[in-house]
Symmetry: C2
Subunit: 141 residues, 2 copies
DNA sequence: ATACAATCTACAGCTACTGTAGAAGCAAGC
DNA sequence: GCTTGCTTCTACAGTAGCTGTAGATTGTAT
């Protein structure tokens, strides 16, 4: 495959920081179109595939789910459609992330107490285990 | 099952806020011991099982993995062992959570820009889609 | 007696990949 | 032409932690 416009699956994977298996997986679930094949059955990609897969990977890096990315791709495939939907997906995603941050911070404050409370001794007296076992941590504070 | 010390799986589930299927799942993976059975084959539980399952559920609520909980349970099953291990698990878990918070906050700042940048218009000009597609967001800022 | 709830086993499905097996294709060196 | 080693192919199993379902029993209330 010397023609630079015809990429093998490994080239596509390398250029986008994706694993080869993952490229095939995205094809299976319909995020990437079925590409053309060589006579011997190998997949052939081009620059448009690189752009599409980059989009997918950036979206995943930003924490969008595969379904969200599917919607965003559908939008960018139909450039005349209204873009409010994309904005809505992004805002919802932002809310989700802020919620997860808040939950993790609650968790963190609970754990700071637990983790600091013990540094050796008999397990029977372990305050970490006690804290997890007890209702106190979750109900009284 | 009128004897209050003999709990059916549904009672155990209700008392611990667990689904019945999940109780059986914990048995499968060895977090809960195989309980005694009635003559007809139904599982019988007692107060110790309630405590153990509560421990598991609290641990899961705190974000501990099943494997971490397995270690903590093993420790509390052997009360003479040193408790430093439990403390180490808790501290490691705390570090994990702090890392996840940091990652989500980075994500959040990236998304705040993306989500605010668009509120309608042609998808072709959508800044949300552009932002995800572009390298700019990830490489230049 | 009949209805309905709870339980049983066993297995499929969820997310988003990742890894593996076994076969076949391809390029380079000798 | 042959071998070596890399890439690719299909197909499937495994990861975490459950959840849901099917179809068969069992228990309980009316």
């Amino acid at each position: 495959m010397s023609d630079p416009a015809r990429l093998a699956i490994g080239d596509l994977a390398r250029q986008t920081g994706t694993k080869v298996n993952t490229v095939r997986f995205y094809e299976d679930i319909g995020l990437l179109p079925c590409p053309m094949r060589t006579a011997s059955g190998r997949r052939i990609y081009n620059a448009a595939d690189v752009r599409r897969l980059s989009f997918i990977r950036h979206g995943r890096t930003l924490g969008f789910s595969v379904d969200e990315i599917r919607s965003l791709l559908a939008l960018s495939d139909q450039p005349e459609r209204d873009c409010g939907e994309a904005a809505a997906i992004a805002r919802q995603h932002l809310r989700d992330i802020e919620e997860r941050i808040a939950r993790l911070q609650t968790l963190r404050s609970a754990l700071v107490g637990v983790a600091a409370s013990c540094d050796g001794g008999r397990a029977a007296d372990c305050r970490v285990i006690e804290a997890i076992a007890g209702v106190a941590l979750l109900n009284n504070e």
